[in-house]
Symmetry: C2
Subunit: 381 residues, 2 copies
């Protein structure tokens, strides 16, 4: 009954190319292509000025369409992914250089990782000698050589070996293992991206850099070089870029921005994160039955609220104040919004928001120019 | 390269029927089928004892497989959906009685609603006379008659006309409109589901019931009957069931439960919500590089945190304390968890969690018995 190959407009897909933006079915994820491209060029220029490579994080958008633009006009030389299935989906669409910025430990996933390594330049992060053994065994079975970065915990308290000798021992283990190649370090500080105070962010960065340097030094004593030092996100990337230590930047959100990153540098009179809002949830007012409040059709299932509620773009006093699965409650004290009105929401957190949608609708001058599938949507495995 | 019709194990689908539960790829959404079926029977028996119908809310699971079990052993006579595309996906899988417990206002969606009304018993909620006009025009075009419930705001401050005469005028408008049929009221109080204090919940319910009765009375003076009074959720359904006013219950979460509903009645020495945890995110420890903390492979993209972090099931002192997109940080003071260990998380909120997954894996006695697609996953339109 349903054609698998031709998504139906307004059912599987909210828009088609050439359609007016005002006719896009809602809720839908819309990209302002002009702002998106300015973001890509700005990051390209900053990375270039500092002589660091850009390995954009594809977990932010999960879309091959976006990734190809990041390469074509944004200077990206490769991508990060968090999951094997995410990487696989992008390799299927022509992305050929991916770092899995994460540990892959399940046997079936390691097997798929090695199969994928035959089709693309692939690297993975490691923080445990037991994992080194498993990776090496599978790489031998598949007759591939896999590049490995040792992940160190630089303050985030998430994955990663302790810096220094603990990480060095894993580097030696990789170097000694059959069919693995030690390529360098993964050193990413997630929380530091979101510290609102410049001083706190700088202190976290300085501490992180000390840990990276100490680890590089330990590894040097083992006769090994760290060809790659990979890390950074949209909240700190200027510091990694200027460090003289990091060789590549893993920022992801910069291409779209979101409410969390827009609001992060509001303290201490700092300049904001230097990118524009390019991603919106287009939504429609579906109920205006009582004065002062209207209800829109975009709730938890249209945008993630883990980093806060979305902001209304061009709001004129209206505020998105509460959220249910498929409803957004909007305070509208001036009464500017009515039934059928369309609004644009800046999502709180772009990464899990993109993961809720099957398509990204690119618009320019009020017309739909691109309809990009969210290629790796839901690829959790 | 990728077969559309045959999902690949461990890539698109985390399990296959007959597999050991311990071999399910993670993260994955797993149903304890015994607990699930006990939940279904319990709700069936409570509804039957009070002589009310069960119109289970499909937004909780979005799965035709679950819905068919709710009919087969759980006594459900029909379902609620929030979106036209959600309803359409379930009708395609044999669900034939659906109330869209929401306003449908966009022209293209109204058109699809009428097309769907030719294939199933369909009703929709209305809170605005402008919407009555649009629905009637489209129903005439499609030569269908659509049942409408007037939604009233009973305290949630979300959608819904004011109770009493304002709602009565809409009922009259529906009755007067060509090809629409006035069927009764939608009266759902979302926030009341989550009031922790019994007294507060009872007060909200009493206030709600007064509003429903006042609206029924107004509608009676217009010569109309409310054949259906629909509402209730997993947090209050015992009161609606016993009210003598409500004719059908819209509970959804009861079949799975989640951490939010498990924790809601902890104050005032009340009995808990009378259902068992039947839904889990199966996850694997992917990093154990430092003592006291381990990292699992399930984060924001595996479970929704809008109602709080997930709980560890059978935790032995370990606690899920923080969340990133694809990582969960687990405090493990006793050191009971290590690399490769499997854990089960009770998601904070089951509805948006199901919406993140493509499959629900049903297990019994440690063996995978069912693999149900999340039929309406991502159906936002």
């Amino acid at each position: 009954m349903v054609s698998v190959n031709k998504p139906r407009l307004g059912y599987e897909v909210p828009a088609q190319i050439g359609m007016a933006e005002a006719d896009v079915e809602t809720p839908a994820l819309v990209i302002n292509l002009d702002a998106f491209e300015r973001n890509l060029r700005k990051m390209r220029d900053i990375a270039k000025a500092h002589g660091v490579a850009l390995r954009a994080h594809a977990k932010a958008h999960k879309s091959a369409g976006v990734a190809h633009q990041q390469m074509k006009i944004g200077g990206a030389h490769g991508f990060c992914c968090q999951k094997v299935s995410e990487a696989e989906a992008l390799v299927n669409e022509g992305i050929d250089d991916i770092l899995i910025s994460n540990q892959i430990v399940a046997p079936a996933k390691i097997d798929r990782l090695m199969q994928l390594a035959k089709r693309a330049t692939l690297r993975v992060c490691v923080d445990d000698l037991r994992n080194v053994k498993d990776l090496s065994t599978s790489a031998q079975t598949h007759d591939v050589t896999l590049g490995c970065l040792v992940e160190i915990d630089v303050g985030a308290g998430r994955c990663g070996a302790n810096p220094g000798a603990a990480a060095g021992r894993i580097a030696s283990g990789i170097d000694a293992a059959q069919n693995l190649r030690f390529d360098g370090l993964q050193a990413y500080h997630g929380p530091a991206q979101h510290f609102p105070q410049a001083a706190k962010r700088e202190a976290a960065f300085a501490e992180m850099l000390d840990k990276v340097k100490a680890t590089i030094a330990d590894i040097k004593t083992r006769g090994l070089d760290c060809a790659i030092i990979s890390g950074a996100g949209t909240g700190t990337f200027e510091m990694e870029a200027a460090s003289g230590i990091y060789t590549e930047l893993q920022a992801g959100t910069y291409c779209f921005m979101d409410a969390a990153y827009m609001g992060v540098r509001t303290q201490d009179d700092q300049p904001a994160v230097p990118f524009e809002n390019a991603l919106f949830v287009a939504s429609t007012i579906m109920s205006a039955a009582r004065s002062g409040t209207v209800i829109c059709d975009a709730g938890h299932k249209s945008h993630a609220v883990d980093s806060g509620l979305p902001l209304l773009f061009d709001a004129d006093g209206a505020r998105y104040v509460a959220c249910n699965d498929e409803h957004g409650m909007i305070d509208d004290p001036k009464g500017v919004l009515d039934l059928h009105d369309r609004i644009r929401l800046i999502p709180g957190h772009c990464d899990p928001t993109c993961n809720l949608h099957d398509y990204l609708i690119g618009v320019r001058n009020g017309v739909v120019e691109t309809v990009w599938p969210v290629t790796a949507r839901g690829k959790l495995l």
